[in-house]
């Protein structure tokens, strides 16, 4: 009997995300094993139990997925899993906490594409703001944009300290150059967006972060992307289905909606899962791999 493919899904949260489960099964993994409430200290042991229980040919049909809501913890777990491998007893590992890596990669890749096509600019020429920047998708978006050269700020809606702490932490972890910012009121938002070239909106679903009044202050705005699929949209004027809609702004800005980004994210996660299922050699995939694949997809 051919060995069935197994994906071991390690998650520090009380439950795995149904999103990741649907994606993994749709990619073709035969069996999914959810592991919830997993601690960082347990990753080494769990990984070795996964690799030593199948022959080297069998473990080609075995993978590890790391979920959760915390990007830093996911990166630590990925490192711990990597260190637990004993070649040739080695399996592929994909980290995508809350789908944050793939969502962020898709968002930045979509924005990068419109920036080039509509304004003939690159990320490194631009100043970017990430609203909802202290959540998992926001942090990953900021790190990817920053590593691609954009001058990027993570915007928190309550606390400048929270934003600065997170920017500092991820600069240390990922060698990015993020800064922190705060904007709660419409006045603060209006001031902050005045010289932004790019706006990423990764705030909570169903909350409008930037109204059309506020947005009218974005004099430099070129491209805005919103990952919120639940009405109202995070940025006024961008519908969830908009692949690229013109916004009323002096610079001729364009907006990208959640389902357009979601479509890329969906293909991307599928691709990465597929790579970990079919790759001859074990692969270790994080947000960097997610972004380079996303660039190919768009």
């Amino acid at each position: 009997m051919p060995k069935r493919s197994i994906l071991h899904m390690f998650d520090p949260m009380p439950n795995n995300s149904p999103f990741d489960i649907n994606m993994a099964l749709d990619t073709g993994f035969d069996v999914l094993m959810p592991y919830s409430n997993v601690k960082l200290e347990s990753i080494h042991g769990l990984t070795q139990d996964a690799i030593f229980s199948r022959s080297p040919s069998g473990i080609k049909r075995t993978g590890i997925f790391i979920g959760g809501r915390d990007m830093g913890l996911a990166m630590d777990m990925m490192n711990s899993a990597k260190q637990a491998m004993v070649p040739p007893f080695e399996v592929s590992v994909l980290a995508d906490p809350s789908g944050a890596f793939t969502t962020a990669a898709a968002l930045v890749a979509c924005v990068e594409k419109q920036l080039k096509e509509k304004h003939n600019k690159q990320l490194k020429d631009c100043k970017a703001l990430v609203f909802g920047g202290t959540g998992p998708v926001g942090i990953a978006t900021g790190v990817i944009a920053s590593l691609a050269g954009a001058e990027t700020s993570l915007v928190d809606h309550m606390s400048i300290d929270a934003a600065n702490d997170i920017a500092k932490e991820y600069n240390r972890r990922c060698q990015s150059t993020l800064s922190g910012a705060v904007a709660g009121s419409d006045e603060e938002k209006s001031t902050l967006i005045a010289d932004a070239d790019i706006i990423f909106c990764t705030a909570k679903a169903g909350i409008q972060v930037l109204s059309s009044d506020v947005l009218s202050n974005a004099k430099q705005l070129k491209v805005a992307g919103d990952v919120n699929a639940v009405p109202p949209s995070g940025i006024a004027g961008i519908g969830a289905n908009d692949a690229c809609i013109a916004l009323t702004s002096p610079e001729g800005a364009f907006g990208i909606g959640a389902l357009a980004i979601g479509n890329v994210k969906y293909k991307l996660q599928h691709k990465l899962l597929n790579v970990s299922l079919t790759s001859e050699k074990p692969v270790y995939l994080d947000f960097r791999d997610a972004f380079s694949e996303a660039q190919k997809i768009v």
Binding site: P18, S36, V230
Partner: protein, 302 residues
């Protein structure tokens, strides 16, 4: 590649019931994924993760099952799940906490059938005692019987708890359209004299109705017991009884045992799990839907 049928199984308990997992797999779901210790506040996020990770076509092969122990919580989670979806990102949801909805449906449908066959009558206007009726099965059965027109009284060891459950049934599940009453166990000898129907849904191993009660039940028609572990909840009743006359009943009442009811429950749950797979539009299933299906099953199998 054909997309597999995925059932996301949510429970507030610390484990799923293996009963539900087996039922789901046998009904045709390919993957049954457990989500345990789920809190009501987490349902929305879980549901939105479910619906946004497959295409509308794939979502037709996706479902959500809500288990747990608490009927009200399961009903509320079903509502939350439904309200968290947007066309065309929708999946079917089926709530059956502790199997209580399908068990209750099976019991009430079987009782209704016996009433018709043996006594040529319906639940309408009948006096019904729900003994041990404060648990999940008792609650759902009481509501279904009341909706069918019976005068239902939930009997519990503590009157105030029975009253609280009766209020919950009337307000939450019956949406103010029914009027279930409460009674204390101590007054059972009086209530039984005018009872037409008895449901025994107490804990296993407790006799809720003894031989003396049965002898004084001069208009009793049907007695149903969901307890499969001896001793039965009703004196003289056997788990296999399926319309057999109860020894010592002055009115010729018939008995429905746990295994006879369980058989209908089993088919009902299976059919609802299949309905989720086969339905072209999303369905949201709870005890009322279970009752419709159970009624058809009883008619077609007996």
């Amino acid at each position: 590649m054909e997309k597999p049928f995925i059932l996301h199984m949510l429970t507030t308990a610390k484990n799923l019931s293996p009963f539900d997992v087996n039922m789901a797999m046998d009904a045709g779901w390919v993957s049954a994924i457990p989500y345990i210790n789920v809190e009501a506040s987490e349902v929305k996020d879980l549901v939105q993760d479910v619906i946004f990770s497959r295409s509308p076509k794939g979502l037709k092969k996706t479902g959500i099952f809500i288990g747990g122990r608490d009927t009200k919580q399961a009903r509320d989670m079903l509502k939350t799940a439904k309200n968290s979806m947007f066309p065309p990102f929708q999946v079917s949801v089926f709530a059956d906490p502790s199997g209580a909805f399908t068990t209750a449906a099976g019991m009430v449908a079987a009782v209704e059938y016996e009433l018709d066959k043996k006594f040529n009558t319906t639940l309408e206007g009948k006096n019904l005692l729900a003994l041990g009726g404060t648990g999940p099965v008792g609650q759902a059965a009481a509501v279904l019987a009341a909706q069918a027109g019976a005068n239902v009284r939930i009997i519990g060891r503590q009157l105030d708890k029975a009253q609280r459950i009766a209020d919950l049934c009337n307000d939450e599940f019956g949406e103010g359209q029914i009027n279930i009453l409460a009674g204390a166990d101590a007054d059972k000898p009086d209530y039984i004299k005018t009872a037409d129907i008895v449901f025994a849904t107490g804990a296993a191993g407790i006799e809720l109705l003894n031989a003396e009660h049965i002898a004084s039940a001069s208009q009793l028609k049907v007695a149903a017991d969901i307890n499969a572990v001896p001793p039965s909840g009703i004196a003289g009743l056997d788990a296999f009884d399926n319309g057999k006359e109860i020894v010592g009943s002055p009115s010729g009442a018939v008995a429905l045992g746990a295994l006879a009811i369980g058989n209908i429950k089993y088919k009902t749950q299976s059919q609802l799990l299949k309905q989720m797979i086969e339905s072209d539009t999303p369905v949201y299933l709870h005890f009322e839907h279970a009752f419709e299906v159970a009624r058809q099953i009883v008619k077609s199998t007996k």
